[in-house]
Symmetry: C2
Subunit: 155 residues, 2 copies
Amino acid sequence: MMDRIPIGLELNLTSRTVRRAFDSALLAAGGSLPVWLILLSLKRGNVDNQRELAEAIGIRGATLTHHLNGLETQGVLTRRRDPRNRRVHIVELTQAGEAFFARLREAAMVFDMRLKVGFSDDELSLLARGLNQLRLNVAGNTKEAGKKPPLLPDD
Amino acid sequence: MMDRIPIGLELNLTSRTVRRAFDSALLAAGGSLPVWLILLSLKRGNVDNQRELAEAIGIRGATLTHHLNGLETQGVLTRRRDPRNRRVHIVELTQAGEAFFARLREAAMVFDMRLKVGFSDDELSLLARGLNQLRLNVAGNTKEAGKKPPLLPDD
DNA sequence: TTCAAATTGTTAGATGTCAAATTGTTTGAC
DNA sequence: GTCAAACAATTTGACATCTAACAATTTGAA
């Protein structure tokens, strides 16, 4: 009812602020946000190719290529053609890459603790669900917009 | 308790996805996200100088200067020195700028409706408060981290 | 078998963003 | 009055990101 700042603006400002703080924390460990996201996704092993990797972290394939070039030059990872499908590049961490990942993970874990201050488990879940709904609402197909179960009980 | 995706990753992915969709909507109206944020903040009239304007929309002063240069070249706005404090630039929309703003506002309002689908007023408030808390948690001074009132009633 | 369409990744060119250094202005201490 | 410090904005040089166009490969249908 009351006039509210559009949720999109709120999201944008929060994301920029949090990202800047996180980036600064990673910088102290020699990394950056996109690099961390790439290494984390690779270690999780739940992506099969660069297209999926790029989508998982919210960047375009071209941008991913750019970062992979840099990381390969630094000796953090290697790329080789998948013999079973030569369109695909198999991306693998080197030993140095593993050590680098461990260092960044330290910084990321510390930051995550700081970010969650003041949130209960339920509140965190709810926030995550809200964010997820925003994402669904702008997804290409309008199928998932306006999901079934309300986020809060309907008293 | 259960393993959860870090809220920072969730925030990052959501923000990128939503931003891309919004940017695309603004592009159809001849604008972009940073341009829209600048014009909106100027129209609201709650910032006194470029430093405050940049902070309000979450970019750095240098980035703002860059956009203002472009907008001034396009004839959307003018800059002149404040005679009472010649360090300050007074930024004003031209008539063409007002028309441009009106066009972008149309697109922004349509998008905001789409983004809010499935959210009740209370849910939207809660989401905004959660985002605000994240912002406080990474703010330079740790004073506001871990605020008093819980986001959800403590049953 | 062959070839058009789909898929994967890269390149090229443009824009958005930032930190650091710089220019001009104001403020405050003396 | 003078000058150092703070302040507002700009410039510079670097990265991050995007879209569009492209090259190589795979797939599927005739």
